[in-house]
């Protein structure tokens, strides 16, 4: 079955998630908006600490509590406002309608329960009334779906008995076990070696094609973005700074930060002597400047940049979905 991009199923608007700590308020997510369509693969890109994981956890309302709170914004899943849901109702959504593959698959399985047990737990939770035998069958089916060899035996294994790549697949199986509409994959490959990484990405794509689910792919690897995704949201210091179709972003990166990120991707054709890296550090999240957060590191920065936050400008023709928040774009339009 071919993948078909359909209706918008997830709308995130102006999301703010702050961490209230003893040392002050950390604005981990400070204004993120994006839409996600059925069957689509959306990349969230940004350097470490830009709030990608916090954004993803906020969608499930699993931001580290009690310190972190969603203070503003809205999250709509198939038209329903998730921020109005009770904890009980959110539990029905987690795993069943939105699922997530956590950043570190090596430690995301509980060491004292078997693979089967952990898989069944996810299945049972959303298939009430099913009993032992049929649940085990479903678990084995699930492992088959993520191409685990000898799944009948694997269900009996404990996490420490299987390889890293296999754990990754098990975590994947848990995520898709209840046929969710949306899967968030948080840098799912950073801890794997290159060949296993490639295999896993292929698997994720195959699963997406089979089930037509929507994928949010968190990464800081533009190479993966090019291979896997349809659209990109670039985040910087808790805010999205540019978003649009992959091709547009690659061909016309319009925010200086995106341009810098793309320049730091090693290219296959050129023989680069030195990888480009962005000078300076991102601003402290508890002491953000009022203007553009990238201004201090930006080669085009003007006076206005550090005093006023730029709104989002459409890039290209009218009706384009490519937009970026940079004052330079105002001059060009």
């Amino acid at each position: 079955m071919a993948r078909q991009i359909g209706e918008v199923i997830l709308e995130v608007e102006d999301l703010h998630t702050y961490c209230f700590t003893r040392f002050g308020t950390v604005k981990a997510v400070d204004g993120v908006s994006f839409n996600l369509r059925q069957g689509e693969a959306l990349a969230i890109v940004g350097e470490s600490g830009s709030g990608k994981t916090m954004t993803a956890l906020s969608l499930l309302q699993l931001q580290p509590r009690p310190a972190a709170r969603i203070v503003k914004g809205s999250i709509r899943l198939e038209g329903e406002d998730l921020l109005q849901k009770t904890e009980e109702q959110m539990r029905e959504i987690r795993g069943k309608r939105i699922s997530m593959i956590l950043q570190d698959p090596q430690t995301s399985l509980n060491p004292v329960f078997t693979v089967g047990n952990q898989l069944i737990e996810a299945i049972r939770n959303h298939h009430a009334g099913e009993t032992g035998r049929s649940l085990v069958r479903r678990a084995i089916e699930g492992l088959k779906q993520v191409r685990v060899a000898a799944p009948e035996r694997r269900v009996e294994d404990y996490p420490h008995q299987i390889s890293g790549g296999m754990k990754q697949r098990v975590v994947g199986a848990i995520a898709i076990s209840c046929e969710p509409k949306v899967i968030i994959a948080d840098e799912p490959t950073t801890s794997l070696d290159v060949t296993i990484q490639a295999q896993y990405l292929r698997l994720l794509r195959e699963i997406q094609e089979e089930t037509n689910l929507a994928l949010i792919f968190i990464t800081h690897d533009f190479g993966i973005v090019a291979k896997m995704c349809d659209r990109v949201v670039v985040m910087y210091a808790g805010r999205h700074v540019e978003s649009g179709p992959v091709r547009d972003i690659f061909n016309h990166p319009s925010h200086p930060y995106t341009q810098a990120l793309l320049r730091s991707v090693p290219s296959m054709d050129e023989d680069v002597k030195r990888l480009y890296s962005i000078e300076g550090q991102p601003p402290a999240l508890w002491d953000l400047p009022s203007g553009c957060r990238f201004a201090a590191r930006c080669e085009y920065a003007q006076e206005r940049c550090s005093s006023e936050y730029p709104p989002s400008f459409t890039v290209g023709l009218n009706g384009s979905t490519h937009s970026a928040s940079c004052w330079r774009l105002r001059e060009s339009t």
């Binding site: 499930l60 029905e92 959504i93 509980n110």
Partner: protein, 306 residues
Amino acid sequence: MQRFIAIRFLQSLLALWVMSIIVFGLARLSGNPLEVMLPIEATKEDYARLEKYWGLDRPLHEQYFVFIKKALHGDFGDSLKYQGRSAMELVTERLPATLELAGFALLVSIVVALPIGVLAAAAKDGKWDTGAKIVALLGQSLPSFWLGIMLMWIFAVMLDWLPSSGRSGWKNLILPGITLGWFQVAVIMRLVRSSMLEVMDSEFVKLARVKGISESKVIWKHCLRNAGIAPLTYFAIIAGGLLTGSVVTETVFTWPGVGLLVVDAVRSRDFQVVQAVVILFAGIFILCNLLVDIMYAYLDPRIRYQ
């Protein structure tokens, strides 16, 4: 797994053997036992005769050999105070009472400490956590003899609900059990709380929540099973605390156990009995350690399958 248990078993035997050397050594170091046994007016000949009788004139390694041979048969000599009774007999006679008390105290402390520790961790800085801190503070600052006397005064003297001494029924167990278990409540609770907090931060707990399972299952199944492993390693220390603690508690409540016996034996310099108790307590302590390791292996598959 079998290999693991076999190795730990051999290690336990080794520990017991070292223990026997220490006990033997201490007995010789603490001076000539004959000075305690014989009256002041005893002559040189009396000393020589008894030395020969007890084998004290032979070289040390031979004496140790005899000591260990007898000890292996459970023979630690005869009690000096209770003529005609062997030290081991006296100790084993009292042992059930002590084990009963220690077991009950352990049960009380776990039943109280475990849920408080878990709830305190589940809502860090919440009301359970505050309560837990108070309990921990009280548990470690109230000496057990004082607590014992207070409990006795309130429940036995003023209210007359419970007996204050002796061992004639289950009611007798309550006050000494609480007194003995009280200190351990604080210890166990803090262990449970801290290892729960550590586990709750891990990725697999996040994954459990992502799966959409209920918070109580996350806490009581996913976290506790992992967090239970760490406090368990302290079980032997807790058991040790219960055994030594029984000395004070049994004295306060005249509970006829080994603790009361050993206080009595020390007072009357009944050295053979003291020795037997020390060896026995050490043996129990080492056995607890062994049990802990086996339980640990059972709870943690990473060890079970090595």
